[in-house]
């Protein structure tokens, strides 16, 4: 954000992460080098245990690497104190999880406003911004629903709204569609490619090869190393045409939900 345009958002140099000690030691990330520029939509693929999620956790400053450097916006974040890292998390990183991870005892708008709490914003301002963000995801009518009253797709859209509310420089998504049916999956992917078009950097871990078609760059990992790194010249579905169809779909969903409520 504060760095100039030529600085990559993320630069990893021989990043290494090990678990366990002695004989049981297991190298999860093995000297990973990776540079991610602003505005990329990256899909990370690979078999289970290849270190995708570990990489994502390190990128999201939830975990620390054992060796190597991680430069976020040109700043080395590996050596920072946990308080500084928490501050960066609150200002620059948005998380989307497979299992949504909304706080169950808070309603939708409070969940979306939660990241703003840790930026020290006032309650009214938080709720206003959260409401605005929910509006862009066509969820304004769900503001005061509790998380368990939403469908899977809606829940994930709330989670994405929450990840974006603090205007992060990178959005990290760990199998965002893993718990959704294929129709909801595509709705979510449309949303992600939509926010990608608005200039956000997105890093997504997925098992589903279909979804890589939304990404601008696909990285395959095997055994803690990058196996292949392909740039898609033009992301397939980021055209806008299906978007319209999607909006229509949403409308019908909404009316259906309303009917359900009336009953």
């Amino acid at each position: 954000m504060d760095a100039d345009a030529t600085t990559p958002v993320i630069a990893l140099h021989s990043l290494t992460k090990r678990y366990g000690i002695g004989d049981a030691e297991q190298t999860v990330l093995d000297g990973l080098d990776l540079t991610i520029d602003k505005g990329e939509f990256i899909a990370i693929m690979g078999p289970s245990g290849c270190g995708k999620t570990t990489l994502l956790n390190i990128l999201g400053l939830l975990d620390r690497a054992d060796d190597g450097d991680y430069l976020l916006d040109g700043r080395n974040v590996e050596t920072m104190s946990s308080a500084r890292r928490a501050k960066i998390r609150s200002q620059q990183i948005g998380f989307v999880f497979q299992n949504f991870n909304l706080v169950p005892r808070m309603n939708v708008i409070e969940n979306v406003a939660l990241p703003l709490t840790y930026q020290g914003k006032r309650r009214t301002k938080r709720l206003k911004e959260a409401s605005k963000m929910l509006g862009t995801f066509h969820l304004s009518e769900r503001e005061y629903y509790m998380p368990w009253q939403l469908s899977g797709g809606q829940t994930q859209r709330v989670a994405i709204a929450r990840a974006l509310v603090n205007n992060p420089s990178i959005v990290l998504a760990d199998e965002p569609t893993g718990n959704l049916d294929s129709r909801s999956s595509h709705v979510i992917m449309e949303e992600l490619s939509d926010i990608h078009k608005r200039g956000n950097t997105i890093i997504m871990v997925t098992h589903n090869p279909d979804l890589t078609s939304y990404a601008s760059r696909v990285i395959h990992m095997i055994d803690g190393r990058i196996d292949s790194d392909t740039k898609t010249p033009r992301p397939k579905k980021a055209t806008g045409a299906p978007k319209k169809r999607l909006d229509e779909k949403r409308k019908t969903k909404k009316t259906r939900a309303k009917k359900g409520k009336a009953d």
Binding site: N57, G60, R89, I93, F95, V103, T117, Y118, R123
Partner: protein, 411 residues
């Protein structure tokens, strides 16, 4: 930070409200602990206030000479010496009384000679009776209202006595006891006066006049081989503002009489109440410490429930951390939750404590519990401390949780 504080507070109230029964029981634990401390302290303070009030009634014109040197005594010695005054060796003499009486601006001087032994009537021998030998001037010094009859005076017969109301009832079964006889040390006394019920077992004379038989100093001397063994001399100045000069003068006269041997103490003002006050504070503080054990149990309850809350909300902690909460944010979130519970317990405990204290005082005691800022501050401070001490460990435990592990819970 201020913004987050209100946020944490709202958050804590939300989460406490979502577990009403659990929160209520935990708060009850602290409430009972604080209430028991409040009962002890408020009654202790009530007793102390009783003494102080009496001094205020005396008009601040009273000075007291006691045997023994306060300067050399330790605190505990002081306490026992004044309460068990009758056992202390007496160093005050009738000559001291006479010379103190001659000080300018002194309106009255009365010696108090406490005599051991039992008092018995034909029917009963009460075991807590006190025999006080004194001069008629006592009624001028200490305000001892007479219910019936008269106080001993210079013309009354030596074998007459004034008795406290309770003693009259204990001896004769009635407070209509004028003219009846009791025996002590082989002498028969006739009751010529009954004191009003005083309801003040503790006073600067260290004599519970409700249980006292007041006889003349001459009779008292007769029981003691003709020597007046005076434990205390009460002096009343003519005016409050003369007291300082009177005390100074008394000190000087006694120094001459005792050949500069400091075996006496002249006390006035707050010093009079201090030994008794200190005793009550010591007793109340000891009892409060015992009561604090129940508070400890309440505190452990808070810790227990907070630990349950932390492990129940492990996932939430992970979510919050991934959204940018620092360890300090998480610590405060849980600490404020435990503080809300302990302070609520402190508030309800303060109210409950006074309700119980008033119930006890009105049923069994002759004085009301006292309201002081010290006690209110104490209940606030102690409950704050309990919340901090017992909430800190769960809060730190919550903050130290690894966000990745935390997010993995309950998949």
């Amino acid at each position: 930070m201020r913004l987050l504080l209100t946020n944490h507070l709202r958050n804590a109230l939300d989460s406490l409200r979502s577990n009403r029964l659990r929160t209520g029981l935990t708060v009850l634990g602290v409430t009972i602990g604080i209430a028991s401390i409040i009962v002890v302290l408020s009654l202790g303070a009530g007793a102390t206030r009783l003494i102080t009030n009496q001094l205020v009634q005396a008009g601040g014109a009273i000075a007291v000479v006691r045997t023994g040197s306060a300067a050399h005594d330790t605190q505990i010695n002081n306490l026992t010496a004044t309460i068990a005054g009758s056992q202390a060796t007496s160093s005050l003499t009738e000559q001291d009384v006479d010379s103190l009486g001659s000080i300018k601006n002194v309106s009255a001087v009365a010696p108090l000679m406490l005599i051991g032994g039992t008092v018995s009537s034909d029917h009963a021998t009460p075991d807590n009776a006190i025999i006080v030998a004194t001069t008629p001037a006592l009624t001028d010094v200490a305000s001892l209202p007479i219910d019936q009859g008269q106080f001993i005076d210079s013309v009354t017969n030596q074998d007459t006595a004034v008795v406290g109301q309770q003693l009259a009832i204990d001896l004769f079964g009635t407070d209509q006891a004028i003219g009846r006889n009791f025996h002590t040390h082989g002498v028969t006394f006739t009751v010529i006066g009954i004191l009003d019920a005083l309801d003040s077992p503790v006073n600067y004379n260290n004599v519970d006049f409700d249980h006292a038989a007041i006889i003349s100093l001459e009779s008292g001397k007769a029981f003691n081989q003709g020597v007046a063994s005076i434990q205390q001399i009460d002096i009343r100045a003519k005016n409050d503002h003369d007291l300082a000069a009177v005390v100074k003068q008394a000190d000087k006269i006694l120094a001459t009489n005792h050949k500069n041997e400091k075996d006496y103490t002249v006390l006035s003002g707050n010093d009079l109440a201090r030994p008794a006050n200190e005793l009550f504070y010591t007793v109340a503080a000891t009892l409060a410490i015992v009561a604090a054990i129940s508070l400890l149990v309440g505190g452990i309850g808070i810790m227990n429930i907070m630990l349950v809350g932390v492990s129940e909300r492990t996932r939430e902690i992970g979510i919050r951390k991934s959204l940018g909460a620092s360890n300090a944010h998480i610590t405060w979130q849980f600490l404020i939750e435990s503080l809300v519970m302990s302070l609520a317990g402190g508030f309800f405990g303060y109210i409950l404590g006074y309700l119980v204290a008033f119930a006890i005082a009105r049923t069994f005691l002759t004085f009301d519990p006292a309201f002081t800022w010290l006690i209110a501050g104490c209940s606030f401070g102690v409950s704050l401390l309990v919340g901090l001490v017992f909430g800190l460990y769960p809060a730190l435990r919550a903050a130290r949780k690894d966000p990745i592990e935390a997010l993995r819970q309950y998949h």
